[in-house]
Amino acid sequence: MFKSGTPLTSLAITAGGLIGFFVLMIGLVGVNAVLLQTLDGLSKGSAYAMIALGLTLIFGTLGVVNFAHGALFMIGAFCAVTLSKFLTLSKEVVDESKTDFLGNPLKVNVPYVNDLFGEATGATIIDWAVPLSLLFAIPVMILVGIVMERGLIKHFYKRPHADQILVTFGLAIVLQEIIKFYYGANPIPTPAPSAFSGSLDFGALIGMDPNLIIYPYWRIIYFVFAALIIGAVFAFLQFTTFGMVVRAGMADRETVQLLGINIDRRFTLMFGLAAAVAGLAGVMYTPINSPNYHMGMDFLVLSFVVVVVGGMGSLPGAVLAGFLLGILESFASMREILDVLPGINQIIIYLVAIIILLTRPRGLMGKKGVMEE
């Protein structure tokens, strides 16, 4: 059992283990398969990492365990659904040039955007609905986050963690039922722009034979997007005065308050930021899996596991654990592995979480004294 250790030693252990793991896997299944699975794992882990980052941000600043974070992810996804529905709002026009099978003039639906911007631009706008939703989702999510914090979570700082879990769990149920009422229970397909619908021949790109490593464009974009967002959050915390004050508040809230800084207001904004990160993760996720009302809950359980593995309260830990578990999961779903250990892909994340929690209670990069017992 590891007794203690700084985040650096654990990082070294993780890196060493990872290199060993990759060498072993390359020996077992070959370079191509390893590259493909790593790519897959990184894109799977992107969603975990972004949600876990938001969870940790909320926990680190406000000390609240937010079970409604999955619901925020889901609301983000439904921002994309709403915008694409809004853009395709249309009126019925009789097209004289075409006829239906009875010989009557055909009625076609013409979206209002076509009237505004012309047909070609209108079609492009509708095609790009998901990326456009990012702009729409940011203010919505920040607003939702701030309302949530001021309206409900504020009153739970002094209550036990169990109460926080319970009330946010209740909130998650309410939020997803509201979405279910307005959008129905079925998944709503929300495709990516047609420019990104194909697959990228990744192997050819790095000088290997073509058709060896092929991966969908959108998933690669998802990973790049996640990397950008995560980078932006870290840069914001690291290089702005606002971020510096927030970090100081996370380290010692009272002293910051004594210096005459209204830290509560900044923490509220951080809640909004965390909600926005979860929401953006949800927006970009819609082309990968059609959103339905309980997608947030499905992600929430895994994201909590990710946070705990990364170390409660550690932002880099959450991101690292998100990507690591994503990679592990995709390696575990390989045929070669499943032949030896059937069903391992279903349980690998939980298994890792249990092992980490028992051997290294603080998680990969957890700080001392954060939520220990």
Binding site: H155, H161, V167, F169, L171, I173, E177, Q346, L351, I354
Partner: protein, 400 residues
Amino acid sequence: MFGLNKKDFNLFLIVIALTMLAPFILNPFPAGSGMAQFNAGYPDLMQRFVIFGIFAIGFNILFGLTGYLSFGHAAFLGVGSYGAIWMMKLVTLNVIPAIIMGVIVSGVFALAIGFISLRRSGIYFSILTLAFAQMSYALAYSVLTPITGGETGLQIKPTDRPIFSNLEEGEIGRANLFGLDMRSSYELEVGNWAFTFNTGYYIAAIVMILAFYLSIRIFRSPFGTMLRAVKSNQTRMNYTGLNARPYTLAAFVISGMYAGLAGGLLVAMDTQVGPERMFWTASGEVVLMTILGGASTLIGPVLGAGLIKYMENILSKINKDILHQWFAFLPDGIEDFLVTIVYPFIGKGWHLTLGIIFMAVVIFLPGGLVEGGKRFMDFVKRKKSKTPPSDESAQSTPAE
């Protein structure tokens, strides 16, 4: 009496009376009348009331007394169910061995999981139990298909020939208690009312009364006091030279066995089981039941279980047409308006109502419905006597 003090004994008598007279109490409206849809006195639902009551009582022994919030309790219910159905498929169709098997299997399972999970506390404990339950679910769903039947689950099939049974060729075995069929019922018709007395329900009810009695004894025992000490201050308990682990582990295993008992009873009633019984939403449901009714009170979890199961089965059946009937006496505009307002909260949207009630309880009434009832009684009493309540009664904890 029975080792209970007067207050507990009265509570116990009330519970006995309520469960035994449930077919009457839950059927207050005559059949065929407009209100008949609110009748909950049919066997299937009554069985669920008591069985999930047992489940919640067991969960409360862990959460209510020690404060350890398990988010994976449904795993024990599921494992107990699988144990019970295999007993029925292979050995005998009598329900008693099946239920005992369910309790034993889930007890062993709880011992293993509790031994590991209880190394941590707080949110880590919740995550660990959640992880174990999700693992069990995933395994039951996929790899363990030969044992669990995978997605379709397990049922008693015409090909099942238990050792101790004299089934004819091709006859599907039915769960029984020494020849008494679980599904047999006696119908009593009084005027317009029809009351159903179901064998399965009464067996489940008797088991619940026993389980309830046991939980009162646990709450009042030195062991129960130890568990409360774990909740209020574990560090202090350690400093007095006591190791909290054996006590919490015992509570965890007892609680798991209660869940197994509930699982075994579920199988005894409908002779089938599927992996969705172990999904984490099922674990969340028992948390909702216990908190809603009142954690760490004796009767609370049973009330919570009853309320949620009632909403799930009765409230969810109400659709728009029925709403229009209710508000038919109002002018058309107001009728449509009211229906639009109310509709999201009932029928398929009953989860929304549940979520809102649950949040309200957590925010305003941490003691659950029991505390709500107590506050209401205090309020009524104060109105009557017009004297301020003494400090003692204001500080007392909800009835335990």
